[in-house]
């Protein structure tokens, strides 16, 4: 019974997690390695940049297509597509940074023997 009660309490949190993933909160399950306590500030920054940049990329593409339909050989057309390229590159970088921005992962890469980094295979 005690176990069931425990599960009832925890499962709503687990169910709610996917909804909250768009505005990340520090997660703490109390399991070593499964809990990633990353500062809220950096999490928010990591999530926000790609969306903003993605918007910028999409906008810049539309703008470039418009500019070039008017005059395909102008400097403006080239400059517009150059902007698309710059933003696409920035978006790609942001995506990569997001992937590698977990402080716990980077710490554990260098210090796998510490307590925080112990993993359990079974």
């Amino acid at each position: 019974m005690a176990t069931l009660t425990g599960m009832n309490i925890s499962s709503p949190r687990l169910a709610a997690r996917p909804l909250r993933s768009s505005s990340p909160q520090p997660q703490s399950l109390g399991f070593p390695r499964l809990s990633r306590r990353t500062p809220l500030r950096t999490r928010l920054v990591a999530a926000a940049a790609p969306e903003q940049i993605e918007e910028k990329v999409a906008e810049s593409i539309k703008e470039a297509e418009e500019t070039c339909s008017e005059n395909p050989v102008s400097g403006e057309c080239a400059a517009a597509w150059d902007e698309v390229e710059e933003l696409s590159a920035a978006a790609s970088h942001a995506r990569d940074r997001k992937k590698e921005s977990d402080p716990l992962e980077s710490f554990c890469k260098d210090n796998p023997e510490t307590d925080e980094c112990r993993t359990y295979d079974n």
């Binding site: 070039c68 080239a78 150059d82 698309v84 710059e86 696409s88």
Partner: protein
């Protein structure tokens, strides 16, 4: 004060994250400057290079989070985009791309690179790639090894003359297109047409201002589609050529079996088993823009560690400090793009060559004052 600079440019219409198919740039104050086209510090090549020198390269602590600079114990990598004279809005108004020299302040670039080479700190502007604006400058202290990467490292003659070594990363059009597709197709808003249009619109400026720089480079890494698979257009298997200029001071080109001869080598056979399409090496003297060069070429992919060590054991003049150093460096960064083909291999080898160059320069500068006192 001895200063050495190494420049490499990576002719890449994108940041180095594209160069990866999976994701897609002295006590004696010796400085080496390496230039990459538009990769700005985060490129795989830069990471391999700084790894050869030891220590991790990080953005300056406590500064602008959008800084393009990377600093390690020995090396500072600065991005030449920081010398844009026009920000994104300015370029749009004038109708010029970032590739156009009119968008860059070469006077400032020359002044600051020269100052750092002479051992002075500089207040270098920051070009923010996220906002497209020029941010307030950051202080850069003169490092032992200075690497400059970007679009125009060898464009201005004065800057070119400051370099101790230069590298150009020349990606062929087909490979560039394939990589950009991999990078951008995931991006909402992009389509095959928009990617093609972007490349085409920038091609005239690229061919006028960027591509010609490769003739000045001491080493060129050329990336082409494979010849091992007839009709391949996926761009997954690469043919990579390391073009090394002959007669460059302190730079001894890598060779296969017999220096100066022409060799064609398929390591796969009885001793080494490779999976399709295998690996093929060629080596030989050629002429490149009127210069004598030696070209080492690798076509294909490494599947296993033992292939890599087997190949390493047959190459000469690698400037390794111990047997297996190339393999070790490649393994250390096995998650980097290009780790299983010639791009990773040659970038690692060039990194070792640069280390060797740096040590020779340092040694010769140390010897010079001694000789002066003897005389």
């Amino acid at each position: 004060m001895a200063v050495s600079t190494v420049y490499t440019t990576q002719s890449f219409h994108s940041t180095c994250s594209i160069s990866t198919p999976s994701k897609t740039h002295l006590g004696f104050n010796q400085k080496k400057q390496i230039l990459f086209y538009n990769s700005c510090g985060k490129s795989t090549f830069m990471r391999r290079l700084t790894s050869v020198f030891g220590g991790a390269a990080e953005p300056p602590k406590g500064g602008n989070p959008d800084s393009n600079t990377l600093i390690s114990d020995t090396t500072t990598v600065i991005c030449l985009d920081d010398y844009h004279s026009l920000d994104r809005t300015g370029r749009k108004e004038k109708g010029v791309t970032a590739l156009d020299p009119r968008a860059n302040d070469f006077d400032l670039m020359y002044e600051q690179v020269k100052a750092m080479k002479e051992g002075k700190a500089v207040d270098k502007p920051i070009y923010n790639h996220v906002t497209g604006l020029l941010d307030p400058p950051e202080l850069i202290k003169p490092p032992k090894i200075l690497v400059i990467e970007g679009l125009h490292p060898m464009f201005d003659q004065r800057v070119r003359d400051l370099l101790d070594f230069s590298i150009y990363l020349d990606i062929s059009n087909e490979v560039k297109f394939a990589w950009k597709i991999q990078r951008d197709m995931a991006e909402r808003g992009h389509s095959l047409e928009s990617i093609k249009a972007s490349i085409e619109a920038r091609k005239p400026d690229f061919e006028a201002y960027i591509d010609p720089q490769k003739q000045y480079a001491d080493a060129v890494i050329e990336v082409l589609p494979t010849q091992l698979i007839p009709g391949d257009n996926e761009g997954k298997i690469l043919r990579v050529r390391l073009i090394m200029k002959e007669g460059v001071k302190y730079f001894n080109p890598v060779y296969l079996f017999d220096e100066g001869s022409t060799i064609s080598w398929i390591p796969c056979g009885r001793k080494l088993t490779c999976s399709y399409p295998g690996i093929k090496f060629t080596y030989g003297p050629e002429s490149y823009f009127g210069h004598e060069v030696s070209v080492l070429e690798m076509d294909g992919q490494f599947d296993r560690l033992d292939e890599l060590i087997y190949v390493e054991s047959h190459l000469s003049n690698l400037s390794t400090k111990f047997y297996g150093e190339v393999t070790q460096q490649m393994l250390k960064h096995s998650e980097f793009p290009g780790s299983n083909n010639g791009t990773g291999l040659f970038q690692t080898i060039v990194g070792l060559k640069i280390r060797d160059l740096y040590e020779q320069i340092t040694a010769s500068k140390a010897a010079a004052p001694l000789q002066a006192t003897k005389a």
